[in-house]
Symmetry: C2
Subunit: 308 residues, 2 copies
């Protein structure tokens, strides 16, 4: 989209997470002028440093007379971020510009809005960032009624109906996988790369049929490496299958007999699709590259309408 | 036991684990002369450094004419340790001196024996160190028929009958608890100390009735801290309860309707006892302070008889 057809810089969309910042600079017609990614995520920044970080990335594009709108989603709006954008309570449409928190900046050349996350009181759950991906998905699939699965460090299962997030549930599956691979005694036995599809599918079945046994099954990976021969790539596929299978066992009410769209096109998203397909669940995978940006565009449009 | 009634140093018992070394110096009648604990565990040592480490700890007690027997158990006998002491296959009595591997040392003033662990082919499992605690328990309870529960980083459930280890199963519960407390996103919400008995017992029930939900229940701890008020000590008790409950759900064939002895008197062992008692299982707790030493004494006695 970069090139001679784009107009002057008009607004910026920012996905500002725990460890990364992604910024898209757009013209009046939402054509992308430039995209930037840095590691200036929440963990790197004090609350006083967010404005300077933005100004640094945008300085060459700012005009004294026309302040630039900057719409941000993600952990930037958490209590530990720039400023708290209070959660919208579920059920709710994915938060739009109408729910955004306006940040008072020192520099008058930017107008910054933080989008809130969503909270669910019972069972207690929260999301911050995923709601904007969901908004992006719904902007392209406005009639969607069914379940979204968002794999990640903290994967989410989300029930969508009539344009609203009805309920959701978060699983620490991705974080558990990373911790076990890198920090536990299994790090000696589980490969950092490699895969074995049969091991993965069998592990899914094992975990679904005996979910409670997970902590024992994990140690079995180590024992198998010590007294038998379990190649590291097979151990990796089995570990992934055990943890995703455990998640599927608990998330069954979300996917059983329902349309599921898996957001993402990563290796992990592919694994979720294979696992669901093996369980006989109809599933389609949707690339998320532009989904967050689409959600930020929707939010920007609402803000424009509200401030007309 | 230290004092004027002990004779000259005769042999040494060593519990040589992954991170620690505990050495007891004993006289001819197994009276303790001295006890030493250092952090010279397996992770600190190259295989060539074990002998020097021992000589360092024993130098003042060695006599040129009477080599001192040193009986070791634990990870020192693993493939990554001093020298591999191959696992005894299950079912087996806890390995005694008859199964020990004699290490060739450069210094003739010590005679070193490494006790093997136990392996189980199906389901694959291993132990190394716990078998000596079990031998110690059996030396004091020779007629014991039932189940032993050994809480720890990798907790073990062991079925004992007629003096033999019939079967066992290892759970990574303790390691999962430590990883989640210290390395995961829950570290912001889970206290390093403190306890809440009601939270613990409820969590045990929750995990036993819905074991698959564990990865979601874990994230709930975080959400509850963010949108409600979950004190860190309550979160700690609930996390412990969820993980121990998950283990109990899978270990049910070991404890249901059976006599269980929990080895240990740590806070964790107490938690296992409370959890089992709440599930209506008769349980007794046995201090393990001397159990490993008792097991090493048994092994030493066998070696004496064999080398007479």
């Amino acid at each position: 989209m970069t090139g001679s057809h784009t107009g002057p810089a008009h607004w910026a969309a920012v996905d500002w997470g725990t460890t990364h910042l992604r910024l898209w600079l757009l013209d009046h017609n939402h054509n992308m002028i430039r995209q930037t990614e840095t590691e200036q995520g929440m963990v790197q920044l004090q609350s006083t440093e967010y404005e300077a970080t933005l100004l640094d990335l945008l300085s060459q594009d700012l005009q004294p007379k026309h302040p630039m709108d900057v719409i941000c989603c993600g952990m930037v709006g958490s209590r530990q971020g720039w400023q708290e954008a209070p959660y919208a309570p579920c059920p709710t449409p994915p938060p739009s510009g109408a729910h955004a928190t306006r940040v008072t900046t020192k520099d008058p050349r930017i107008e910054v809005y933080l989008l809130p996350g969503i909270k669910q009181i019972s069972p207690p759950d929260v999301m911050r960032g995923e709601e904007t991906q969901i908004a992006g998905f719904l902007s392209r699939n406005p009639q969607y009624d069914g379940v979204l699965c968002l794999p990640g460090t903290h994967s989410k299962w989300v029930h969508i109906s009539a344009g609203e997030v009805i309920s959701f549930q978060t699983f620490m599956t991705g974080e558990l996988f990373a911790l076990l691979c890198k920090e536990s005694v299994l790090r000696h036995n589980v490969g950092a790369t490699g895969w074995n599809d049969e091991m993965f599918t069998n592990a899914i079945d094992d975990a679904i049929s005996r979910p409670a046994a997970i902590a024992a099954q994990l140690f079995t990976l180590r024992a198998q490496s010590l007294i038998a021969t379990l190649p590291p790539e097979a151990a990796r596929a089995r570990l992934s299958g055990l943890l995703i299978g455990l998640e599927l066992a608990a998330a069954r009410p979300y996917w059983l007999g329902t349309q599921v769209a898996v957001l993402g096109d990563t290796e992990v998203a592919q694994a979720y699709c294979r696992a669901l397909t093996a369980q006989g669940s109809p599933v389609k995978m949707t690339a998320t590259e532009r989904m967050t940006l689409d959600g930020l565009k929707s939010a920007y449009n609402t803000i424009q309408e509200l401030t007309k």
